[in-house]
């Protein structure tokens, strides 16, 4: 009896120590990061490093080392690894946020002073490009027409291909089409431009025009429309189709009157996202639309202008502060347009998404 108590009493605190190891307080990660940033900035300023990028990178490395070392000392190796992983994930998050935020903020900062009524309603005709003034009206008009034409071509074809894949596609052809649609999503825009150039402009002998640009844009747009429409059609519950068949409605009418209207919200979203994607394409437009300083509202005849091409020309050809300013103004308009489309598209998706079937 006495021997048992004698052995138990010294071992008791030992057991307790194994069950609850020491933990860092809750504010430890925050404290470590503050310490690391202070040290990083200190080292950066002390060593006279010009680039703030380096200050940030030093802070990030210090933060990783500190959080691992601290946790390893107090909590043990496994917990230290866990903390290290958490720190790495947070650092990755910040590494991703910083450039993307910088891009957005810098564009707004540079562009906001340029964009005004005059900028939006005038072209570059009779404007000396090395001087101030001028606007993007011709580019806006050109972009809208080219993108509109491309959408008018790509959306119906994309929609019908998706209908084929979802409603009819069973055989080998459907598999091949699915695969190549996926691969087609990754075609570089410049290759699409080269193709239209060799077919439309060289072989068939047409001249530079907005329409030849929209042909290339349509090629880039089709696979995106097919993919998103496909996903949306798959979400339409089979019960709806079966109910329609049971009433004797033929298949094509079922698709046109039941399936597509049910999924129309999602399809619209997909088309708008695709439009947003091709609006920013520069390379094919550069080869096929050619660019112009004046207003050309006819997309089938003669060179036009487009927003991305305008930015490129103001940056690369004009290449002075006035050109940069105009480029930033146009970039801001372009970003606002694309983001606006995205937001509206996602709004529609949320508003009219079909309830997923079984």
């Amino acid at each position: 009896m006495s021997t048992v108590t004698a052995t138990a009493s010294p071992s008791e605190p030992l057991v307790r120590r194994e069950l609850t190891t020491a933990r860092l307080p809750k504010w430890a990660p925050l404290g470590t990061s503050v310490l690391a940033i202070t040290l990083g900035c200190g080292i950066g300023a002390g060593a006279g490093l010009g680039s703030h990028l380096q200050w940030g990178l030093i802070s990030a490395v210090l933060f990783l080392i500190l959080s691992y070392a601290l946790a390893a000392k107090v909590e043990g190796r496994r917990q230290a690894k866990d903390r290290f992983a958490t720190s790495v994930v947070w650092v990755a998050f910040i590494l991703a946020v910083v450039p993307l935020a910088s891009l957005t903020i810098y564009t707004i900062q540079q562009g906001i002073g340029v964009v005004n009524g005059n900028f939006l309603s005038h072209s570059m005709k009779n404007v000396i490009s090395s001087g101030p003034g001028g606007g993007i009206y011709h580019a806006l008009l050109g972009t809208l027409e080219q993108v509109g034409l491309a959408t008018a071509m790509a959306a119906p074809i994309g929609l019908m291909t998706a209908v084929y894949l979802v409603e009819y596609g069973k055989g080998r052809l459907a598999k091949v089409v699915t695969f190549f649609v996926d691969v087609m999503t990754g075609i570089p825009s410049i290759v699409a431009g080269l193709f239209i150039l060799s077919l439309w402009n060289i072989l068939l002998g047409f001249d530079y025009s907005g329409f030849s640009g929209s042909l290339a844009l349509a090629i880039l747009m089709m696979p995106v429309v097919v993919r998103s429409t496909e996903e949306m059609l798959k979400l339409v519950p089979n019960e709806l189709r079966e109910a329609s068949y049971a009433l004797g409605v033929p298949k094509w009418k079922t698709i046109l009157r039941i399936v597509i209207p049910t999924a129309i919200g999602g399809i619209t979203t997909g088309v708008m996202l695709a439009v947003a994607r091709i609006t920013g394409e520069t390379a094919p437009v550069m080869m096929l639309v050619f660019g112009a300083d004046f207003i050309n509202s006819d997309p089938f005849n003669g060179p036009q202008q487009s927003l991305p091409l305008y930015i490129w020309q103001q940056y690369a050809l004009v290449n002075n502060d006035f050109g940069y300013a105009r480029a930033w103004g146009a970039a801001l308009v372009l970003i606002a347009f694309v983001m606006g489309l995205n937001l509206i598209a996602r709004g529609i998706a949320r508003w009219r998404s079909p309830k997923s079937g079984h």
């Binding site: 866990d82 052809l173 990754g186 394409e281």
Partner: protein, 327 residues
């Protein structure tokens, strides 16, 4: 007792049935036709580029694969893709080396680490940034990133110059080089890789994660044993999709890089070129034969992206089979 349905005149019934059969046939052929049209377009792209490249290559006085210069419109046309292939691969490799780990981190952040209040809006924001046009990335890269990265490249030259790769021939030269291009491409493909990877991480069976946690795993051990193995095919295919975009990026590279026809392993030296950038830059002044030469390089780019994207899709397709995600 039971009221029979109103009798349909037999003539009308037959007519409508025939109509519907014809309608079905027309509709089926229309939809199948547009599917076939897509295939025809793909085939035509390959065919036309191959045809024009054939015209160009037959008159190339240099070796297409090993020549550095690009002077197809000279009296003695000489052009080759050595510099372009090197630049394309190097910038894409740098972009992948930076973007893939960061994208995995961000995807994990959104799916497993972030407080839910941050995660949802942040995921939304990443999707939105994937839509920023590449010309805007290019403008930002040339006018903001290049001046700000100068300190970093000089520092790398000073302390890592002994690696040969990171030494600058002219210290402090404007960093319009392949390294900066790689960083810019990394920033551009990050949203795409993150979006796909995040979706895969979200599909990890909850049971796997809870089982790992129940066995006493820390969060990192749970991710290493349950999340990452499940998501590996998804990560690979997402990376390859990003790679495809990085390889074909045109205008952002053209704005940042100051191109020349020097193949240099000093990636911090301004110079080099990529397929797409070269086409965009040389196209304006190209004669008809010069255009054909550019199409030859375009064909190479097309084939490379085709292979990369096709491989990515095959990996995704295989994954669907064994995970049951298709069901």
């Amino acid at each position: 007792m039971t009221s029979s349905p109103p009798a349909v005149p037999p003539g009308r019934d037959r007519r409508s049935r025939r109509d519907s059969r014809v309608g079905d046939k027309i509709f089926f052929n229309l939809t199948r036709g547009s599917g076939i049209l897509l295939l025809v377009i793909m085939a035509a792209i390959a065919g036309f580029l191959a045809y024009r490249s054939g015209l160009a290559l037959s008159k190339d006085e240099g070796n297409f694969l090993t020549t550095f210069e690009w002077t197809p419109d000279a009296p003695k046309p000489v052009f080759g893709i050595a510099v372009l292939a090197f630049g394309t691969i190097v910038s894409a490799v740098i972009a992948m080396a930076i973007a893939v780990p960061v994208a995995i981190g961000v995807a994990l952040f959104i799916s497993h680490y972030a407080p839910r209040k941050i995660a949802q809006p942040f995921a939304y924001l990443v999707d939105l940034l994937a839509a920023v046009p590449s010309i805007v990335y290019g403008l930002w890269g040339a006018l903001f990133l290049v001046p700000h990265i100068n300190g970093l490249t000089s520092w790398m030259d000073q302390y890592l110059g002994w690696t040969y790769v990171f030494s600058q021939t002219v210290p402090g030269a404007t960093p319009r080089n392949l390294f900066t291009v790689g960083i810019l491409l990394a920033i551009m493909v990050l949203p795409i890789i993150t979006a796909v990877t995040r979706e895969v991480f979200r599909q990890v069976p909850r049971m796997h994660e809870e089982a790992a946690l129940a066995l006493g795993a820390t969060r990192w051990e749970m991710i290493r044993t349950a999340v990452l193995p499940f998501g590996r095919p998804g990560i690979i295919s997402a990376s390859m999709l990003g790679l495809g975009r990085a390889l074909g990026e045109t205008i952002a590279v053209a704005t940042v890089l100051s191109a020349n026809s020097v193949l240099s392993l000093h990636i911090l030296d301004p110079g080099g070129g990529t397929f797409a950038q070269n086409i965009a830059l040389k196209f304006g002044e190209a004669q008809p034969f010069g255009r054909d030469a550019l199409m030859a390089s375009g064909l190479v780019l097309f084939v490379i992206t085709l292979v990369v994207n096709g491989a990515a899709r095959l990996i995704i397709a295989r994954r669907k089979e064994y995970s049951g995600a298709a069901a």
